[in-house]
Symmetry: C2
Subunit: 233 residues, 2 copies
Amino acid sequence: MIHYTHPSRILVALDCIIFGFDGEELKLLLIKRNFDPESGKWSLMGGFLNEYEDLEAAAQRILYDLTGLRNNYLEQLQTFGAVKRDPVERTISVVYYALVNIQQQDINAIKAHNAYWINLSEKPDLIFDHNAMVDQALRQLRYKAALHAIGFELMPDKFTIPQLQKVYEAIYNTQLDRRNFSRKIISTELLIDTGDKDTNSVTKKGKLYRLNTEKYQQYLTDYVSFFPELTLS
Amino acid sequence: MIHYTHPSRILVALDCIIFGFDGEELKLLLIKRNFDPESGKWSLMGGFLNEYEDLEAAAQRILYDLTGLRNNYLEQLQTFGAVKRDPVERTISVVYYALVNIQQQDINAIKAHNAYWINLSEKPDLIFDHNAMVDQALRQLRYKAALHAIGFELMPDKFTIPQLQKVYEAIYNTQLDRRNFSRKIISTELLIDTGDKDTNSVTKKGKLYRLNTEKYQQYLTDYVSFFPELTLS
DNA sequence: TCAAAAGTGTTGATATTACACCCATGC
DNA sequence: GCATGGGTGTAATATCAACACTTTTGA
């Protein structure tokens, strides 16, 4: 096999920011490291890219190993490549972020990795440049959620509109008007009334909806524009 | 020095999509390759990451080598990492895209690299996965330009509002209403009237503006939201 | 004086906001 | 009955889109 003459072959890692939502707060799945380097400290879930493995497949593998989940929302965020970002050896890290339905996870897999769901507001200091990765992932999540309806990715299969509202309030760390939010969501026609009611609620039981997945596919590719008079193809 | 035991060190390349605007059409700076592999075909400008070089610095180096430009708008797009994307050897490519003021370029540097400005609408077929890279860069440009005022990055130092409008029409491949566009841009207070007039115009000479760079910095970090009632920090 | 491009003004339609009011549930 | 949270309605306001009209310039 022919090779390039360029000498610098570099270790390629992947790191994964995993967002979840427990009904109240936005959460991160973090690892309390019991292995070197930086054993005892907190970090993101990561791994190395194998020689005969597509980059995207490696990200899916890492997410699957930790959570037992496939077919989640998984998007490449950015590649971090400062020379000294990893003190052990020059390593660039391709960072992905995932949105998971926290109720579908494999609890044993998570325990086996010594991983814990931590409220974003209580995030501990992380190793290397993992803090910057989380910062950027949150920024990207806010971006995406402003243009696409990806809040649903964090919801269970059936959910009420007030529950969905809490996701958005958590993402943007703000308060929304219940009545306006409800009307806006219903007008998207992304929700299908299941006919069931939320039995967990203490007071009035809200309607349980599920996502209209076909309509949702459109919302993932379409987007809202800064120039509303534009019609984008 | 300690090393990781993981065996797979991989060649890391960078590729750069360079957008420019000539007053009428959105253009790409492409290379007619006179070197292997794929000599004779068209490609993006690229290079390899060196062992003691930050990723971001490598992207800037590659852009500088080709255009003589520094301090341009340069943003990491995504990393492409399919196993077979480069037939010579397993190589992942970190892709950046740049917006340049076409009048500030170093023509000799461009000639030396056998590079040409090609209208986006006349883009030839490119090697490897470079077509997909361009597609995604255009998508990202449309995204960014919808939320931030980066259209200015493609303009000369002094420009008229109708010229700026042509940039946006080129990015979104659409027509905009002159009067509404003008009012919207002026309301941002991003423009400073230079007092000069556009001497190139054949008919009525338009006002030449320059960018209010302080205000522009805000527009780069702020963004417009899908939920207008949100006040984002 | 006419065509072409630039600049300014107005208005109806639409979307957004900030409310008020009613309903269901458990104590 | 009453506190709590869910569901629906409406009116004032802000924004957007689609226009008409005026100004400047060169031929």
